[in-house]
């Protein structure tokens, strides 16, 4: 049984409140926007080969991941697909935090040659060609711009960093600044719709949450939600194993970046060290003209974004809610099972050497076999996939037709 101190500690991890607001996205909490975003999420028309949608790599039945070690869309990706469960609670997005809002994040995969492999002009044209989507868009944002003049709005195009001769960049350069802004506006709105959908993907009534409620009510039925083994696992998690120093609070993540010393493949992935720099120059960051609050909030957030001390190879602390259904694990999918993750932290077998300039947070926590089993039982008690089924698939076509 938990001591009074451990009960106090458990309350720091539950309940998980509502997702935080995003004032940079005016339609973030709009249910019409979420429904349209849901349709876009499952729609393969916005990819270069017509086969890839967000759900290709964020499959609801696979914990909104893909079950693969490394992601594969139009081409192979060097990182593991992240779960979208509780994604709205993040402060930064991607493993390296190179995005500061959920809507801006969505613009990345659409134009990434390895993911959807599309371009913003193709996205806008594909939307314009789908009357049911244009109708729904108009209800959320007002009139959809006329992009039918192909001399002003080429079929494909986008800015391509450091490749002035890339056909997409060449086409983009032919456009007037006003027309570019028109396209960027629809493109960013596309991201805001996807964000409104993803905000709904909340998981916050796992057995552990029921148990913590039980601690307050003294309700034996609720207290039974967490097995004695999982209860011991919690005391290890927030005690001897000190997982909670990084996997902290009701999201089970401090939302920041660390190295847990998991070994990586060949080549150096700089992680957060590069992500910070990319975020600061991102034309769609929270300080941009496309932030619906005029950029006020993010300007400060960006001014004070991390600098110097990030050593290469720091990644975002993942949330551990629903972790039992999102294997494999880590930014390269290096570890296949939860048992192996716990074994890794316990022994640091095969770990990367500590960086002398890095944080001093990871040591082998040396759990016995019984303790490892308890910790796994606790991690498994963080599963809640009770989201309504209609949010876990493409909306029924009727939903669009009636709009």
């Amino acid at each position: 049984m938990l001591t009074p101190e451990q009960i106090e500690l458990a309350r720091e991890f539950s309940p998980l409140p509502e997702p935080p607001a995003d004032p940079t996205n005016a339609v973030y909490e709009d249910l019409d926007a979420a429904l349209l975003g849901q349709a876009l999420f499952f729609d393969t028309r916005f990819s270069s080969n017509g086969e890839v949608s967000c759900a290709t790599c964020h499959e609801p039945a696979l914990g909104f991941g893909d079950g693969r070690k490394l992601a594969k869309g139009v081409a192979h990706h060097p990182r593991h697909s992240m779960t979208l469960w509780n994604v709205a609670y993040n402060r930064w997005f991607f493993w390296d935090g190179r995005k500061d809002s959920l809507w801006s994040q969505a613009l990345g995969p659409l134009e990434d040659a390895r993911e959807h492999g599309s371009s913003r002009l193709e996205i806008v044209h594909a939307l314009a060609d789908a009357p049911e989507l244009v109708r729904a868009y108009t209800e959320v944002f007002g009139a959809f711009p006329n992009v039918s003049d192909s001399s002003r709005f080429p079929a494909a195009g986008r800015p391509v960093a450091e490749q002035p001769r890339h056909p997409h960049q060449v086409a983009w350069d032919t456009m007037s600044a006003d027309d570019q802004r028109t396209v960027n506006r629809v493109f960013t709105n596309f991201g805001k719709l996807l964000a409104a959908y993803q905000r709904q993907l909340v998981s916050r009534r796992a057995p552990f949450d029921v148990f913590v409620e039980g601690l307050a009510d003294n309700d034996p039925e609720k207290l039974a939600a967490l097995s004695p083994s999982a209860q011991r696992g919690f005391t290890l998690f927030a005690g001897k194993a000190a997982c909670h120093i990084c996997h902290d609070g009701p999201t089970f993540s401090d939302l920041e970046f660390h190295s847990n010393r998991v070994a990586t493949g060949e080549g150096v992935d700089p992680g957060r060290a590069l992500g910070v720099l990319q975020l600061k120059v991102d034309p769609f960051n929270g300080a941009s003209e496309f932030a619906d609050d005029g950029g006020a909030r993010a300007t400060r957030k960006l001014q004070i974004t991390p600098r110097g001390w990030h050593i290469p190879g720091e990644f975002k602390t993942p949330s551990l809610r629903n972790v039992a259904v999102t294997a494999p694990y880590m930014h390269e999918g290096q570890i296949a099972t939860l048992a192996e993750v716990v074994h890794f932290y316990s022994t640091l077998e095969g770990a990367a050497p500590p960086d002398p300039k890095g944080e001093k947070l990871i040591t082998a926590v040396q759990l016995t076999d019984a303790e490892q089993a308890d910790l796994i039982a606790f991690l498994e008690s963080l599963t809640d996939e009770s989201l309504p089924a209609e949010l876990r698939a493409a909306p029924a076509p009727a939903d669009n037709a009636t709009r």
Partner: protein
Amino acid sequence: MRHVSVSSFLVRFGVLLVLAAGFACQSDVAKQVPPAPVEPAPAEETVSWNEATSDVPARKVQWRVIDHDEVPRNEAFSMEVRVLSGESPTSLQRLDLKGWMPDHGHGFVQDPSVSTLDIGHYRVDGVLLHMRGTWELRLQLFDANGLDVVVIELEL
């Protein structure tokens, strides 16, 4: 002159101790914060001040959190800092806030921004203590005599 109830804060904020360390350093005093007020201090003087003794003779350093009831963990907050010599505000060339977690070997993940409200009166925004554990908030006070570092130790 308001008086500081240090003991209540010791309990409430888990302040372990307040260390002061003064040492001379002449570098880096050029980038003085312009004294233009940015946002006014809260009119209500309901929140009491914590005191931090500096090694500089007669210098008193006071601080308080202004937008939360207590120092929050992993949520950005703002604080006010007052520097007095005897009973009167004293002007500095500059004030900075750095953070450090001695047991973890790292500091802040974001730089707080400091603005001057009045002579010897500063507002620090964007202080983010992102992890639980022992934090040192290191106030760096620059004046003509050099650098005075005042360390506020917190247990989160």
